[in-house]
């Protein structure tokens, strides 16, 4: 096999991996703090992309357009928590997951009503163009996607490790009762986790749109890929989620490069499911006691 093919697969693997890692991180932030499996995470990504496209087409420059899109998406995250999750906060995990499914369907429908079914795209950030490297092509937007994920990871590690409010969030994740007894407002922290997840999703959505395009129905497939990333790597630790995301990305890209016919999607998914079923706690399970 040619070097160029391998190199190309590795490059797209890294890019895809970063997208899935970003999705997985959004799932992790909510699941870690509230134990809610948020099946609407992909919708935040979709909204972030769609809103950015709209603001740009209204003549807003790119950077403020992204900020506006992120803020609007965060509002939808607040709505999801305050009016859908909070009233049922004591319900079972499956009820909470299905509440997010209901939200996802509604968002999808509203998006279809407002924007129609067409795929939309953005121009590459700062007009960056493709780079050719030993026969492989790096799309102009790809470095932005990778950079966005790296920034997200660094930001989250700083936030959770070195700020008071981040530590409070972690406390809720580890021991809700204990957190409450030292005066942490758990409801506020849960709300914050949804705001954070929707914001991360929207940033990811805006960044990937020039590369992958966006449409009303990309949310659910993205959520499934994010879930796969979180499960394979281990949803209890951000490092696990990032590793899982990269694995999903590389599995997809490599099988697309190596398997000649259209079976690469099946191969990648089968491989990842096999890995997960062999290690059901994830490749990097939670510290300390098992569930």
């Amino acid at each position: 096999m040619e070097i160029a093919t391998v190199l190309q697969s590795l490059i797209s693997g890294l890019t895809l991996g970063c997208i899935y890692a970003a999705l997985g991180l959004g799932l992790f932030v909510v699941y870690g703090v509230t134990r809610v499996l948020n099946l609407a995470q992909g919708e935040f990504v979709m909204l972030g992309g769609m809103l950015t496209v709209s603001f740009v087409s209204l003549g807003v420059p790119l950077a403020p357009a992204i900020v506006l899109a992120v803020c609007t998406t965060m509002l939808s995250g607040i709505f999801l928590y305050r009016f859908i999750i909070y009233p049922a906060r004591n319900a079972s995990a499956s009820t909470l997951a299905f509440l997010t499914v209901g939200f996802a369907f509604a968002i999808e429908g509203i998006t279809l009503l407002v924007w129609g079914w067409e795929y939309r795209s953005l121009t590459n950030f700062l007009g960056s163009s493709s780079i050719h490297l030993w026969g492989a092509t790096i799309f102009g937007q790809a470095p932005w996607v990778v950079g966005m994920t790296v920034l997200m990871v660094v930001g989250l590690f700083f936030f959770f490790g070195h700020t008071m409010i981040g530590k409070a969030l972690r406390a809720c994740a580890d021991e809700p009762l204990g957190a409450r007894s030292v005066g942490i407002n758990i409801e506020k922290m849960a709300l914050l986790s949804f705001v954070l997840a929707s914001g991360l999703g929207a940033v990811a959505g805006a960044t990937i749109t020039p590369l992958t395009m966006t449409a009303y129905n990309i949310g659910i497939p993205l959520t499934i890929k994010g879930l796969l990333a979180a499960f394979v790597g281990g949803i209890h630790r951000p490092v696990g989620v990032i590793l899982g995301g990269l694995l999903v990305g590389f599995a997809e890209a490599l099988s697309a490069g190596l398997v000649p016919t259209g079976y690469h999607d099946v191969m990648a998914l089968g491989l990842l499911l096999a890995v997960f079923l062999a290690r059901p706690r994830g490749l990097l399970p939670a510290h300390g006691v098992a569930e």
Binding site: A91, A97, F98, F105, L112, P221, L273, F276, P280
Partner: protein
């Protein structure tokens, strides 16, 4: 007004009591089963669709309502049944009636090893994994184009042999509702049997515990996989009938989103009650028809958008205000009246 209704409805329910409930079911049953005699083809077809979804949702009544496993791959087994039956009939020329049975059996055969692998997991993760498996099935059918016809679909599936003097859509209507009644009887018997009680004891959604059940000598894995297979066979049979009804099938029908929709039906109707599955299927199919046909004409906007919003809103409202589903509404009202 709300308060008055809260008094009047339970009063009526009290007056007629259980007999009223049975009367409603009997009248509904007679109206339904004579439907092809007096209703338009459009209505008959709609109720055939409701019947198919009822069978799919009944599988979830067993799996989720009874055994407490949140599984999101009913649409995959629907597809396994449809494609097996269709391919056997199209490629090998096997009589459709025989192919139909093979379709149901194939779904069971797929479910056995899959259930063994997946149901070792516990909790909400099962939902995520089954959804992923369903997505994998969708990719597989789409990729194996030389066998399945790929994304464009599989055409020219032979019809079932229908008796003379009856239109094909009326015949299929009776086949589907025959299947619904069969599955309904099986489900209610299973719920009341020793197996049903064993499954109930390990239902984590209804206060049971898998560990406690195991300690009591119930082979939890065995029962979980068993009920998973039964739900899959229900779906496989429905899928096989669907294939010979439509004579065209395409992978999109059997995607992850359909699985979620089936779960919504079961939840909205009431996942712990077999009648809830039928009620939920009726409501969701009704919403689909109304919003697909009427809303875009009256309000403008894209076809397919309004029903998505409606599914979401109905699901959220049900989970927030009637967590046991619409079927629990009469009991709830009566209870409130007695308080």
């Amino acid at each position: 007004m709300k308060r008055e209704l809260g008094v009047i409805i339970p009063a009526i329910a009290d007056r007629y009591g259980v007999r009223g409930g049975r009367l409603v079911v009997a009248v509904a049953g007679v109206v339904l089963l004579t439907l092809p005699l007096w209703a338009t083809a459009y209505v008959v077809n709609m109720f055939t669709t409701i019947g198919l979804y009822s069978v799919l949702a009944l599988g979830l009544v067993l799996l989720t309502g009874l055994a407490g496993q949140v599984s999101l791959c009913q649409a995959m087994f629907y597809g396994v049944g449809a494609y097996t039956s269709a391919l056997l009939a199209v490629r090998l020329g096997i009589p459709p009636a025989l192919a139909l049975v093979s379709g149901a059996a194939a779904a069971g055969l797929v479910a056995a090893p899959l259930g063994r692998a997946i149901l070792r997991l516990r909790g909400i993760i099962v939902a995520g994994v089954t959804l992923t498996v369903n997505l994998g099935f969708f990719y597989l059918v789409k990729s194996a184009a030389e066998l399945t016809g790929g994304a464009t679909g599989l055409y020219l599936i032979p019809r079932l042999d229908s008796p003379g003097g009856m239109s094909y859509s009326s015949f299929i209507f009776f086949v589907v509702w025959g299947l619904v009644i069969l599955c309904l009887v099986l489900t209610s018997n299973l719920v009341k049997s020793r197996i049903g009680r064993a499954l109930k004891s390990m239902n984590v959604l209804a206060g049971g515990s898998e560990d406690t059940a195991q300690v009591l000598g119930i082979d939890v894995m065995h029962f979980k996989v068993g009920v998973y297979i039964v739900a899959a066979v229900f779906a496989g049979a429905a899928g096989a009938v669907y294939a010979h009804r439509m004579t065209v099938i395409e992978p999109h029908t059997f995607g992850a989103q359909t699985s979620v929709l089936i779960a919504i039906m079961a939840i909205v109707g009431g996942v712990t009650n077999p009648w809830g599955a039928i009620l939920g299927a009726t409501l969701i199919v009704g919403i689909t028809e109304v919003f697909r046909e009427v809303a875009p004409v009256v309000l403008g906007g894209a076809t397919g958008a309004y029903e998505l919003v409606a599914y979401g809103v109905v699901l959220v409202l049900t989970l927030l205000f009637l967590p046991e589903g619409l079927f629990s509404l009469p009991t709830r009202l009566r209870k409130r009246h007695e308080d």
